[in-house]
Amino acid sequence: MTPTLYEWLRQSPLTGIFLTLLAYRVALSVSRRYHGHPLANTVLVGAGLLIVSLLALGLSFDEYFRGASFIQFLLGPITVALAIPLYNNLARLKRSAFAILCSIVVGSVAGVGSAVLIAVAFDMPPQIVLSLAPRSATTPIAIGVAEAIGGIPTLAAAFVIVTGIIGAVLAKPLLTLLRMNDDVVLGVATGIAAHGIGTARVFQISETAGAFAGLAMGLTGFVTAVVAPLLVHFLLS
């Protein structure tokens, strides 16, 4: 490849957009091939393929993100769109609203508390503990909370992504193991523990689970923003 052509490849947003779509399409085939096996998760496989191809092409993440930012931008409108499946499940929501809200508060506290306690048990340095605390919330909230309590925002963002992927992979097998077959329970637990990445995963399983995951993700964000600073102070003092 000529140097000017390679330079164009690095600079053009087309590269990032095309690679992302291609990686997703291949991940989708892999997921279908293994009948939606949890480890054949589309975000996990897609991101893995992308990382390999970026390394092979010698592209940095910033160069890739020139195009990928257009795709990431759509997270905003799709989050708003979660209102539609939620409205479709209005009857179930009304019936169980109290139980769902209580679980979201308990789960958000558990999300922050478990990260802090386990990280302390593993002897992690304080800055890492503080960056881990908000990891169940969606990225923008986690970054804000990490900043407020003295963590490292970029590290917090990385923890959020890894947490989301782990939760998306484990949620369904864990609940199947426990014989919890209610889509509402699957959705709420995944939304609390694994925010949007988990929500995207359970949408592939059922619309009801996806709807409640979206609700739980949003409310966990609220609760984490309020509770994390207080809880971290209490646990670490």
């Binding site: 970026l54 890739y64 558990a110 609220f222």
Partner: protein, 119 residues
Amino acid sequence: MIETFLWLLGYQFAGELLARSLGWPIPGAVLGMLFLFLTLCLRKGIPDTLRHNVPRLMTHMSLLFIPAGAGILAFWPLLAERPLAMAAVLLLSTLSTLLISALTLTLLLRRQQSRKAKP
């Protein structure tokens, strides 16, 4: 499709404006979702354009997380300092969050049902 995006971006806009003007740390899109949900409850129905297009958008939601997932590449030096301990912390804390949330909701739903059974 145009109307669908006008609805979605419009509500995101409203959410962003509110969150920013009040200085809340909540993403505008999350507020936009709650506003749109309240709107649907008030008008007691989903506009045709949203009913038609949103389910198709939802099936590909995980596409939108692939750029963030690939971001692990950029964060790798930070994550790889103590990779095993880090992996263990993330795995255990995510598992316990899932477990506690699922158990709490299952117990509360069961209690609610048994209350209804004996009036």
